[in-house]
Amino acid sequence: MEILMNNLAPHAERQHWIGVLARARRSELQPHEAALRDVEYQLIRAPEIGMTLVRGRMGGNGAPFNVGEMSVTRCVVRLADGRTGYSYLAGRDKVHAELAALADAHLQGTQQRHWLDAVITPLAKAQAERRAQKEADTAATKVEFFTLVRGEN
């Protein structure tokens, strides 16, 4: 169990920051651009745009069906010390993909705490706020449907 926890925990953490980086806006990452690029690195997979098929299940448990295709940008970088950073994000923003991959690589290093505090936490906070705002806006338009008792016994 302990081994499992040790293996799972870093993955969950990395999943979290990769997700945050993918959902961030490019304008939010750009202030960190100089710091992110201030390292020797090479592009293992230069930023490239492709498509992926999105599948869904009706209500989350029905038979899977194809929702449609969406554009995805991905990138892989490697720092001089061998750490590799990956990014996959929705849309066609190559600069964003490269910055996100660099951030992933930095976050796996010894300076992890610094990068988490400087980049991931503020981004996650901004995203949570945006989401809460959106949910509040949506909730205001919510309509409750109900059926009056009809007179047929």
Partner: protein, 196 residues
């Protein structure tokens, strides 16, 4: 971690993959003529032409059989990353195989296709030290006007092996690569000893 071993592949993936595919196509269309690929990446153990063919031809639908001498962590990691091709230990399941000259003496197990779908055969990618310097042979057949003199440096036994597995339309197609050059040998090419 295999991530440590990854290296960049094509600098322009689309164009360079298309160029490599075109070179392979021309190599099969004109058996025995050398096609040259310019400025392709290389990997330790794989010549630039061999690696370019792998990058252009392999994907998730093409199980690859690796000869033991190519079966290094570096090659495995990079092929898995850039091509996404599954590696198979069974020759029967392979759509492509990566071989050296020594492996040519035993071609058993590779799928020669069947009479209905001869195109489903396994294509062999063979890396040679050079495309010259062996016994001179005359190649004849489709795509060759009269004959091409080719002197691939390989053991004689290969031609017998090939002959045994060549029951038209079934058979094995081969691409020979050395450095940045490649030569195609489709199943339809006939071989005769060159008269000196």
């Amino acid at each position: 971690m295999s991530a440590q071993l990854l290296q960049p592949a094509f600098t322009d993936p689309v164009l360079e993959a298309q160029r490599s595919f075109r070179a392979a196509l021309k190599a099969f269309a004109g058996p025995g003529l050398i096609q040259t690929l310019h400025a392709t990446p290389s990997l330790e153990g794989l010549a630039p032409a061999t690696y370019a063919l792998c990058l252009a031809l392999l994907d998730v639908d093409t199980p690859l059989w690796l000869a033991p001498s190519f079966d290094t962590p570096l090659i495995r990691a990079n092929l898995a990353f850039h091509c996404g091709c599954p590696l198979t230990a069974n020759r029967e399941d392979a759509r492509f195989a990566l071989l050296t000259a020594e492996d040519l003496l035993d071609l058993s197990g590779f799928d020669p296709g069947n009479d209905r779908y001869p195109d489903q055969s396994c294509t062999l990618l063979v890396q040679l030290p050079s495309l010259d310097g062996g016994a001179g042979l005359a190649w004849r057949g489709p795509g060759i006007e009269t004959e091409h003199g080719v002197a691939l440096p390989m053991a004689e036994g290969f031609w017998r092996e090939r002959e045994q597995r060549n029951e038209f339309p079934r058979g094995l197609d081969l691409l020979f690569a050395a450095g940045q050059d490649l030569i195609g040998l489709p199943r339809s090419t006939r071989i005769a000893q060159e008269r000196v």
